[in-house]
Amino acid sequence: MYPFTYSRATNVADAVRDKAGHKASAYVGGGTNLIDLMKMNVEQPAHLVNVAKLPLSKIEDLPDGGLRLGATATNSDTAWNEAVKKRYPLLNQAILAGASPQLRNAATNGGNLMQRTRCYYFYDVATPCNKREPGSGCSAIGGYNRIHAILGASETCIATHPSDMCVALAALAPTVRVSGPNGERTIAFEDFHRLPADQPEFDNTLAEGELITSLDLPEKGFAKHFAYLKLRDRHSYAFALVSVAVGLEMDGDTITDARLALGGVAHKPWRDKAAEALLKGQPATAETFGRVAAHVVANAVGQGSNDFKIELARRAIVRALKQAAEGKQEAGDMYLGGQ
């Protein structure tokens, strides 16, 4: 790897100050994505501020009935936390569907939100990429784009967000708490990640120097009727081609509330609120699910090698909605072959 300097922060204020004091610096948590990108020369921070050992690893109840997930809690500790399993099993399943046990043991919750696309051209510094080098062009458009976006893409970037955890979070709608040079603020999860538009170099809406300190889940966890369906090239340890997170509330056979988010299809975890509205008050039938799925992909655009994702997404939505309505999934069991 190339030379850089390093420091370890012991509290949030120090971390923010230390980062502000070093040009071209970056926070590092688990490092499972950032260190890889540094080895590939895709990211080249001159200084790393280690935030992995900040006192932000707790998972604790909030007074409003929600649950606070500390930013430095590992993905493993979060997935297997008893409150997460009981109240937010959708999150448990999405986390366990991603990466490997080794990676989940190192990766942090804050880092999961910050991970970057796995677009092969983004990783290959020999090729043009607007996300890596603004203005250089997009090699994926007209190139090999099997893993790329079908929704919300732009003329400058068709990359997808790689996270599974974030797809469940998009459905659960937590608040992201951050600290930065200008103090603390909160960001609604749906506003955290962004679409590429004409600035694909920005994955999210964090300001310079801001550090994620927690994800605050609201009380509503859709623990009875949920599904995380992940479709990929091999059965384990692969990124999603398409994934679907569903949370439903039911009164008999009638859907009274709904959340629906997709992964692997866009530059951000793709929550579709109009589709959720279409589900509300409707019977949980194949006809309803088919109509909603058709709505979600109505504006989808293929890029050539990824055209198959449109039909794959449509069918995956129907299947995930059916699974959620049936309420048969349990925390921890998806990874054994729920597909």
Binding site: P3, F4, T5, S7, R8, G31, D36, Q102, S236
Partner: protein, 172 residues
Amino acid sequence: MSQPITSAPASGGLPTPVPTGPVRLTINGETRTLQLAPWTSLLDALREYAGLTGTKKGCDHGQCGACTVLVNGRRINSCLTLAVMHEDDDITTIEGLGTPENLSLLQQAFVDHDAFQCGYCTPGQICSAQGLLNEGRAHSEAEIKELMSGNLCRCGAYVGILDAVKEVVDKQ
């Protein structure tokens, strides 16, 4: 306060190479101070500076699992973490699990079940399996397969690996 381990870079552009600094690591129960640069991965520190070559470098990108070690009893990929990030951690490598005269249960099971061909992935497989045992969540073959999916075996010795891990899981 933050604790700078190295000096700040010269102004402008990438920093010039800085001297290495002392990094205190506890490996297999022994605390050692190594002179390391911040960019030395835990994997390289183990192999090139601590002289423990049992841990293997496969892909060096967290995709194959050959570099798996235990940090505070939990399995991680040592290629995707920096040695300086583990000053207060307890690191266990394949050399710390057993000796040729006194193999661990998993090491013996891998021998008994012929759970390797070339052997390159084996230290990572065994450290990963030890992490799996520590977690205590895998019981069935399907669970073991899923929770060992972060370790690839180019020779395809998966049948033997599964048998070996299952045997030890069943004894726990």
